[in-house]
């Protein structure tokens, strides 16, 4: 009997102590949001982004100087526009959530801009590259830390022309993302005027079989097949090209810059071209710091290509809330005036559309199962050759 009451007393004291410690140190809780594709074919990228945003919040909460304690609310847009509008509405309607880092898929990012605008909910896009997301409207709520697909397609068309290729066939998925790639690549290639497009094929984003399209392409006999779309169908198209004996160069976009592409294809991935805004994570100004902290958390997957941008977006949100307080209007006002702000992805400057203007494009070629920067690759030095490379 005595023993139990003693134990109760100790327990009670401990509970009171914990409670006191908690209240003495209590900071106001502030909620911030993250939206990305956490299920479905591109979920590796979404989960990498989620982890990176989570890292930004964790590091901030560990910082004793932080004024608030942050809680990350994570929602899944499944890379589907209809789902994205639902979750965006859910998040924006929750007045406790001050701001969010949103969307990897262009199709979901463009579908939700009106929702965020209607609710006056400030967001920073962390991965989607369709220009229209920031440029179609002039919404004060929408910002983006990564570049747009205009820049990467300029670089892409330039490289293809420089390598002396004359004929290109285009395959793109029929989402806003794929259509955008097709549009900007075709424009950029026509502007240079050295190579011409011999055929354009729109395909659905869940398609499994591309043999019919590829057989048509085979008859057109292009030197390059340009692909505007994401990893899952990129893997299928590249693999089925081989099945049909098509030897053209596979020229892709930022949509396939993911380890999943190489794992899905094995040796067949060799010689695939890809382009991406920004530098490789490890070469970013804060890349080493980011990767160190990321790896220390033992997340269930790598940050993937856009993780650093998700971190930068979330970090910028937290900085702004620290500065102006947890108030959506003040956050929007402050984000309207971002110039040369330091971040792990380099200096960030938003133009009048909320678009980061620092356009740095990295060209990649897959060499020995790795994304290697083009200029450092054996293909650029002439040691290896792409099909038909002069």
């Amino acid at each position: 009997m005595i023993r139990t009451s003693k134990a109760t007393a100790i327990g009670l004291t401990a509970a009171i102590l914990v409670f006191m410690a908690a209240t003495a140190d209590a900071k106001d809780k502030v909620k911030v949001g993250f939206i990305g594709p956490l299920t479905g074919g591109v979920s590796v990228n979404g989960i990498g982004g989620r982890n990176s945003a989570d890292l930004a919040v964790k590091l901030r909460n560990a910082d004793v100087k932080a004024k608030y304690e942050y809680e990350l609310v994570v929602l899944d847009d499944e890379c589907k526009p209809n789902v994205a509008v639902q979750v965006a509405t859910k998040m924006a309607a929750d007045k406790d959530i001050i701001a969010a880092a949103t969307h990897y898929c262009s199709a979901t990012a463009i579908a939700t801009v009106d929702t965020y605008h209607k609710f006056g909910f400030p967001v920073i896009v962390w991965g989607a590259v369709l220009p229209d997301i920031t440029y179609r409207n002039k919404y004060a709520e929408i910002h983006r830390v990564n570049g747009t697909m205009i820049n990467q397609n300029d670089a892409n068309a330039e490289l293809v022309s420089k390598l002396g290729y004359k004929t290109v066939a285009v395959i793109h998925d029929t989402t806003d993302y794929g259509k955008g790639h097709n549009e900007y690549f075709s424009k950029a290639l026509a502007k240079i005027g050295k190579a011409k497009i011999v055929g354009t094929f729109g395909v659905t984003a869940e398609q499994q079989d591309f043999t019919a399209e590829l057989t048509q392409i085979k008859a057109l006999n292009p030197e390059v097949i340009y692909f505007g779309g994401l990893t899952p169908i990129g893997v299928r198209i590249r693999s089925q090209m081989d099945k049909l004996g098509i030897k053209a160069v596979f020229d892709a976009t930022s949509g396939i810059v993911s380890d999943a592409y190489i794992q899905g294809l094995g040796p067949l991935a060799e010689g695939t071209l890809a382009f991406r805004e920004g530098a490789p994570t490890e070469k970013l100004p804060g890349g080493k710091f980011f990767l160190e902290k990321y790896n220390a958390q033992k997340y269930d997957g790598p940050p993937e290509a856009y993780g650093a941008f998700a971190y930068a977006a979330m970090d910028m949100i937290l900085n702004t809330i620290e500065k102006v307080g947890p108030d959506r209007k003040k956050v929007i006002a402050d984000l309207g005036n971002v110039k040369d702000r330091d971040s792990i992805v380099g200096k960030i400057t938003f133009d009048d559309h909320g678009q980061n203007t620092v356009a740095l494009i990295t060209k990649y070629v897959i060499q020995d199962g790795k994304f290697v920067e083009w200029d450092e690759s054996e293909y650029a030095s002439g040691k290896r050759k792409l099909p038909g490379q002069k």
Binding site: Q208, T211, A212, A219, K243, G264
Partner: protein, 306 residues
């Protein structure tokens, strides 16, 4: 269009049609014995393909290196495992709902399909990513102008045809087949004639699901890539193929499968607009066929009319 190119389209269409037909046959078998639609069928195919891939990884780790032996073991493991899964589904999800409205079975199998699909994504290592599937058939190919005739495609077509012929033989020439057909025609009478109803239903589900596993392995060998979503699309198409062929008829399902593949190929090649609309075209034709022959192209010999 030159002959080689045309032959290439035919070859592509035949391969697609064979896979659709194998899936459609499953739908038709299940409908035959129990008058139900089992919507998880496509996802059983996915699980089958992943079981085969896991078996390959296991064999590889154990130091097996014979391509043919690998393939035979993979096929056997995948087919048997899916046959067992099919029986479990029939015994514990479908049969208990016998007296409930048919919609409930449809719904429960639809949900089971999602569970299977998401389970592959979550529990298979890196299951969300597309997975390379080993090329275990000979890679020889002959280049005949625009036609790239591959030995592995020919072998797969032959194997698929053999499986379908084998199934026909089983259904029409064996005692088991007789029992399955008896149950399909009239459950009550079959029971009074001494047919073990439960056993026949379970065996039918095992056969249908085994076929799905076979189609899954074939899908992997053909594309050299599988992902957790393959079954969803194949399931929808297999179901449509079974319906246009005439649900309950094996020949109808096969016809439906090849017809659908043909429509998709035609939709890509001959129509002037973008190939993205090939499914719109194919499904629109399916709708037209449904309006013309509501019970499918090949009707069940006895259909109940009130």
């Amino acid at each position: 269009m030159d002959v080689g190119l045309f032959a290439q389209y035919v070859m592509n269409g035949l391969m697609l049609g064979m896979m659709y037909a194998l899936v459609a046959v499953g739908f038709t078998l299940f409908f035959g014995v129990l008058d139900i639609i089992k919507f998880s069928h496509g996802d059983v195919l996915t699980v089958g393909a992943f079981v085969a891939l896991a078996t390959f990884a296991g064999l590889h780790a154990a130091g097996f290196n014979s391509q043919w032996l690998d393939l035979v073991i993979m096929l056997a493991v995948a087919t048997l495992a899916m046959a067992a899964l099919g029986m479990l589904i029939a015994r514990y999800l479908v049969m208990p709902l016998r007296s409930a409205p048919a919609l409930n079975t449809l719904l429960i199998t639809l949900m089971l399909g999602t569970v299977l699909r998401e389970a592959v994504r979550l529990f298979y290592p890196q299951g969300a990513n597309p997975k390379p599937f080993p090329a275990l058939l000979p890679q020889n190919s002959i280049d005949l102008g625009s036609l790239n005739l591959r030995l592995d495609n020919v072998l797969m077509l032959a194997a698929g045809a053999a499986v379908i012929v084998g199934l026909q033989f089983l259904l029409n020439r064996t005692k088991l087949g007789l029992a399955i057909r008896a149950v399909a025609q009239d459950e009550e009478t079959a029971r009074t004639m001494g047919v073990n109803f439960t056993a026949i239903v379970l065996v039918t589900f095992a056969i249908g699901s085994g076929l799905a596993a076979f189609a899954g392995v074939m899908n992997g060998l053909y594309y050299n890539e599988i992902n957790f979503g393959i079954g969803l699309y194949l399931g929808v198409i297999g179901f449509s193929a079974a319906i246009i062929g005439g649900l309950g008829s094996i020949y109808g399902a096969i016809l439906g499968g090849f017809l659908f593949a043909g429509l998709q190929t035609v939709g890509t090649v001959l129509l002037p607009f973008a190939s993205a609309y090939k499914d719109v075209f194919a499904f629109a034709v399916v709708i037209a066929i449904m309006a013309w022959r509501p019970t499918g192209l090949i009707q069940e010999k006895i259909s109940e009319r009130v």
